[in-house]
Structure formats: structure tokens, C-alpha cells
């Protein structure tokens, strides 16, 4: 009887630990897979299947340092687009227009940023909707 209780408690403990650990991971997965769909729909035509961009016309999304540095403005770039500002990616200047996505809800911006932030060699972790919301307030 005692043995059974011990085994039961051990199993319960395992379940709790595993589910706690994977909570964050599961959230990440939800963001990431959702973001992949949005990327395909809204960004892939320009930035490419592998984030490679297009010649000197559209920048790649593979500049890990740039994305890290600009983490707080990425939400604004996606929502309001880019007009003739020159971004420098991997030492190359790009000047062009990226269309705005004014109707994209913050949760979708968060998902697509989590996707690009963790694909093509980037490792930025989850970019959650709360982070996007607070960054969007600072757009100019």
C-alpha cells in the first residue's frame, strides 16, 4: 500500500514538473507555428522561403545582430511598413518600401516576429503579445 502511494506521488510530481516546464515551450510553439502561417501569407513573397530577401532590393532576415538590436522597433516596422528609410543589413544598404499591415492585430505581429526571430539562424525566443503591445505604443 505504502509503495503504491509513493509511486503515485512520484508520477504526479513528474506530470506537474513536465507540464510546468513545457508551458513556456508550448506557448513558444503556438506563436512559432502560427507565425509560420502568417509569414507565408504576408512576408514570404518578398523576404523569401529562407529569409534570403531579393538581391539588393529586399533585405534578408538573416542579420541576427540587426534584429536583436532592433527588437523593440520590429513591431512598428511590421505594422506601419517602411518608407524609404534605408536599413543596413549585413553591411548592405537597402532602400525601398515595405507595405504596412495596419490591420494586423498585435497577437499576429507577435507570432510572425516570433517566427522570424527564431528562423533563418535567429534565436530571439518568444516575442509575446504584451511585448508587442508596449512596443507599438512607442512607434513614431
Amino acid at each position: 500500500m505504502k509503495f503504491k502511494v509513493i509511486v503515485f506521488t512520484a508520477i504526479m510530481l513528474c506530470v506537474i514538473i513536465v507540464s510546468c516546464q513545457s508551458d513556456a515551450e508550448q506557448e513558444f510553439k503556438r506563436y512559432y507555428t502560427g507565425g509560420a502561417v502568417i509569414y507565408k501569407d504576408k512576408c514570404q513573397n518578398c523576404h523569401g522561403n529562407n529569409g534570403e530577401g531579393l538581391s539588393a532590393m529586399i533585405p534578408p532576415l538573416t542579420d541576427t545582430a540587426y534584429l536583436k538590436k532592433k527588437r523593440t522597433v520590429l513591431s512598428c516596422l511590421v505594422k506601419y511598413g517602411i518608407k524609404e528609410t534605408i536599413v543596413t543589413i549585413n553591411g548592405k544598404a537597402y532602400e525601398g518600401t515595405m507595405p504596412a499591415n495596419v490591420d494586423m492585430p498585435p497577437i499576429e505581429i507577435a507570432k510572425v516576429l516570433t517566427y522570424i526571430g527564431n528562423s533563418f539562424g535567429n534565436k530571439m525566443g518568444t516575442i509575446a503579445v504584451e511585448e508587442v503591445n508596449s512596443n507599438l505604443e512607442k512607434c513614431n
Partner: protein, 218 residues
Amino acid sequence: MRRLAVYVLLAAALTACKFNSDKPALPIMGNREAVTKTVNGKQVIDTVYQTIPDFKFVNQYGDTITQKSLKGDIYVADFFFTTCPSICPVMHRNMLNVYKEFKNVPDFKIISHTIDPKHDSVAVMKKYADKLGISGNSWWLLQGNKEDTYNLGQKNYLVAVKQDDGTPGGYVHQGWFVLVDKKSRIRGYYDGTDEKQVAKMIADIKILRAEVNTEIAQ
């Protein structure tokens, strides 16, 4: 029983040989017309294939381009505009593969017609070419009369191009790449937004070049 097996094997071997000697060929597309002609006093029915009529545009260097400029060339035509936010980047990412494959081949060209000639001046087209990373004369970006471009697209290449302010970028157009042979006949349509179809087109261009070369050799 054993004899039967030998026959079967032999037959299989023969068909295999036959298939090998059959060169792959591309169909001739577009509208066609049967005309009755008199050849050596006999009435024969001949097929007249649709061809691309003459045109006159200006390329990214400001040179006038007519069908004469493409004489003896196989070419691929498509329609785009430089500010297109939707399918053009995909089309031209894929077209770059075609360009890289054939840029040193003398009898092949790419012509991309802008459907927004008002914005896409020669200078704008040159800048686009530079940013795309293309140079030389194997890929021309053509600009000219809007009506002429639309007519050529709709009536001759049989692809949709039209202005529609309700769609992103303001134009409706499909991403077709149209493959045209040395006799100005349409030999293939490929979805320029689909990497696999564009790979097929690259293979087909090789077939087409071989076809024309054997014709010349005869």
C-alpha cells in the same frame, strides 16, 4: 514458357530503345487556324500557329526594342511593375535563376514588360535592374505605350493584365512566364511564382534550344 519470357524481354528492350530515340518535344500553344493551301497543284490543309506580332518598346538602357531585336532568340516574357508588392518579387526571384542559367547563352533572352509605364520610366527600370543585380543584354525590362503593352498581354500572350485600383498595388495580373520560340510561337506557360514550374521551364528551354539547333543542322 522460357521462350515466351525471352520474347517479352526482347519486346521490352525494343520499346525501351524506341523511347530513347524519341526526343522530348514541347507543344505549340496559342490559337491555331487550319488553312487550305495549294501545294504543287494539290489541296493541303496546313496549320497556322499564332505568333507574337511586332512591337516597339524601350529597354532599361533607353534602347528601342522591336521584334527584330529578338530575331533568332528563344525568349521568356512576363508582366510586372517595379512597385508591385505582391507576386513580382517572387516572380523575379525565380526569374533570376533563369537569368543565371542562361545569361551567357547567345540565343536566349528574358523580356519583362512593365504594366505601369507612367511610373516605371527608363530611369526607374534601370535602377530596378541594378538592384536586382542584372546587367548586360540578356534580360530587358521593357517600357512603352500602355495600350500596346496591355494588348500584347491580353491578345497575344493570352495572360491577364489590367488596372484595378481595388487590389494591392492597383493592378491585376497573373504571374505567368510565357516561353516563345525562334519563330515567335508560344511553347509554354509557367507559373512564375512557383519555383518548381520555373525549374521545369529551365529544362524546357534546354529542350527548345536543342530542337532549334537540330533544325538548323538539317
